[in-house]
């Protein structure tokens, strides 16, 4: 028997405290991120059991899901949201957990600030009561979302109990074509696998297309792993990863850095390692993508027509119900459909690279009059970079305003709700019925597609607006 291992096996196996016969593994968790929505009942649980947080130094709390994106200096108007935020602050203080609340310089979306401050590290196990925790897999970490009962387990014992998922590798070689971003690559993969195609698996993304991506781009890809049902997704760390991680607040320094590097440099899939499932795509064929239905698997190249019910996987009834909700017809073209809202932001596309991409299209153009645009940075750090790089000037010049950081219209827990019937082009991660507000309709797309829609007022192929590079 060969001792070859996948990247996933290496990280998982080295974190197993205990194996249960005919049961789950007890997995040690290196980093636990906590936010206001999925934590109160977990804290209540340990309070009722009268036990402390086992490792407060491995636990980090930030407020993001519920927070307003304007006037953050004022008290939060919604009493229920305000109460949840207050509870998180009280719990963090009581148990000695770092807390980056509303107004704190380091505040932002949990999956944006984790990497920014070096909490996210290669080879770590990272959990959070949020399914997009898969984002952190971009660093070669095993990162996934957990339920509140598991949040309580991690607070109490720094462990969770999970059966080991199967292994899948998705290989994509080739270069991203003009107008194609990591978001399009991810939406393409999900459209091929459907929203349940990777359920039960942990995915490793491999190949030239991912190697070429920035860390921000890799985060976007790993972020969306959950949308095809995967437990998580990861990319082997490389020089780009180590360069990104180096010298951040919570990353090891000096001799500790050398020790960490010695571990991190072992984090790759051995040549002969076996995956339970392996898929390969040609990256050069991927187009700018857009969704037309009510799950992220219902996506296609922007210039295509909406598929006929008979041509899609799954039940025709569910498919037609979805198109009826969207008020679209089989065979429709998406191009030219008038839109009402544009949302740039979220843990999927709320990073500096996403704002650069958006600005590259809107520069020298004006926001369309029929469009309401919400531009929401993922963190204060992203917000500062937008200002420092002169992107804010471009946006302002084009008639856009920048809001304050948070999850915002991605899940519409705050006031950023798309009204019923309105159509939004969003860079976030879910187009479920009512996701962005009751009755709202969402088209998921990249920051480039969102920008093209924002200046034309309709679904537009961003390639038509891109300046030719000579």
């Amino acid at each position: 028997m060969s001792a070859t291992k996948t990247l996933f096996d290496k990280v998982w196996d080295s974190h197993v405290v205990h194996k249960i016969q005919d049961g789950p593994d007890v997995l040690f968790i290196d980093r636990h991120m906590v936010h206001e929505v999925t934590s109160p009942v977990a804290f209540l649980g340990i309070k009722n059991r009268n036990i402390p947080v086992m490792h407060p130094e491995k636990t980090f709390a930030t407020a993001d899901h519920n927070t307003p994106t304007i006037n953050q200096h004022l008290p939060v108007a919604d009493p229920l949201s305000a109460n949840q935020l207050r509870m998180l602050e009280e719990n963090a203080n009581e148990y000695g957990i770092s807390y980056w609340g509303l107004g704190h310089a380091k505040n932002g979306i949990v999956h944006v600030v984790g990497p920014e401050y070096g909490i996210t590290q290669p080879g770590a196990t990272i959990v959070c009561g949020d399914s997009h925790t898969s984002t952190h897999g971009a660093f070669g970490a095993i990162a996934f979302g957990i339920g509140t009962s598991e949040v309580e387990m991690v607070l109490a014992t720094q462990c969770i109990m999970q059966p080991k998922p199967k292994r899948m590798r998705i290989n994509i070689n080739g270069k991203m074509s003009k107008g194609v971003t990591p978001k399009d690559v991810a939406l393409f993969i999900i459209s091929q696998l459907t929203t349940s195609g990777a359920t039960g698996y942990f995915v490793e993304y491999a190949g030239e297309i991912f190697r070429d991506m920035s860390m921000e781009g890799r985060m976007t890809v790993c972020n969306l792993s959950i949308e095809m049902g995967a437990r998580g997704g990861m990319i082997a760390p490389d020089e780009k990863t180590f360069e990104y991680v180096k010298d951040r607040e919570f990353t090891p320094k000096g001799a500790d850095w050398d020790k960490a590097m010695a571990y991190w440099e072992t984090l790759y899939t051995d040549e002969d390692a076996i995956f339970d499932k392996e898929l390969t795509f040609d990256g050069s064929l991927i187009e700018p993508m857009i969704t037309y239905g009510t799950n992220p698997g219902m996506g296609m190249g922007i210039s295509n027509d909406i598929p006929m019910a008979n041509d899609v996987q799954g039940g025709a009834t569910t498919y037609q119900k979805s198109l009826k909700y969207m008020d679209f017809n089989e065979g429709d073209s998406m191009m030219g459909k008038p839109i009402d809202f544009v949302f740039l932001g979220s843990c999927t596309n709320g990073r500096i690279e996403d704002f650069r991409a958006f600005a590259s299209i809107v520069k020298g153009r004006k926001k369309a009059d029929n469009v309401t645009a919400w531009l929401v940075p993922g963190s204060h750090k992203v917000e500062a970079a937008i200002k420092d790089e002169g992107i804010l000037d471009i946006l302002t010049e084009s008639g856009f305003e920048l809001r304050e950081p948070g999850c915002s219209a991605c899940l519409a827990m705050n006031d950023d709700k798309v009204p019923a019937g309105k159509l939004a082009v969003s860079t976030s991660n879910r187009n479920f019925e009512g996701r962005q507000g009751p009755g709202s309709r969402t088209l998921l797309a990249s920051p480039l597609v969102a920008a093209a829609a924002a200046v034309t007022g309709k679904v537009t192929d961003p390639r038509e607006l891109m300046v030719e590079l000579v």
């Binding site: 086992m54 387990m153 462990c159 799954g314 009834t317």
Partner: protein, 198 residues
């Protein structure tokens, strides 16, 4: 949080023959603002149950008097989307103790097991039989036997077995939860923590 023991459940079922039922439908995000685990059943399938003016959508299955019971039967890929345990809480709080589908999303399945709702995965064919039987006669009963790991359509006697790992099965039969287990091995965890590189 400890929960009720699960042994044999005999009940009528509520059919929801839709695929990819996501957690935003099970409980929309705007109802996640509570700080205690109470009242989530009121908002189970909120936007499918109620119109925007809070009047009932008469044709939705939970609003049809003829359908009731402790077993919810959903289409393929039930519970996709978010990790919000609130979705499982809403299912439980409404009165369901078991969800049957031909395929479950990972995190939702785990959340159900952690709070005492039994996810039962059956074949696509058996799922269709259950849908057909309950829609033809809403008084049709199902028996879910955890110990024997099978589910039976009592009207015809047709039965199918389902998978659950031995550890979780024992937990559900006895109403144990994972934290008790973990606290019992706390010493091992502490020793392990000292050796971790990060």
């Amino acid at each position: 949080m400890a929960y009720d023991k699960f042994d044999i459940l005999t009940s009528t079922a509520v059919p929801l023959p839709i695929e990819n039922v996501d957690t935003d439908q099970i409980i929309p995000a705007r109802f996640l603002k509570a700080t205690e685990r109470v009242g989530f059943g009121d908002n189970l399938f909120r936007d499918w149950r109620y119109n925007q003016d809070n009047t009932l959508k008469e044709d939705f299955v939970l609003n049809q008097d003829k359908f009731s019971g402790k077993i919810l039967v959903g289409g393929k890929n039930f519970g996709s989307g978010s990790s919000r345990e609130h979705a499982a809480w809403a299912v439980y709080d409404y009165g369901f103790r078991c969800v049957v589908s031909s395929f479950f999303a990972d995190i939702f399945r785990g959340n159900c097991l952690n709070i005492g709702v039994l996810p039962v995965q059956v074949s696509a064919e058996f799922l269709q039989k259950i849908f057909d039987a309950t829609e033809a006669d809403p008084t049709t009963e199902l028996e879910v036997n955890l110990k024997e790991q099978n589910i039976t359509l009592l009207s015809t006697g047709e039965s199918e077995s389902f998978d659950i790992n031995g550890y979780k099965k024992n937990n559900m039969l006895n109403g144990f939860d994972d934290i008790d287990y973990l606290l019992n091995i706390k010493k091992d965890i502490e020793t392990f923590a000292e050796s971790t590189p990060l």
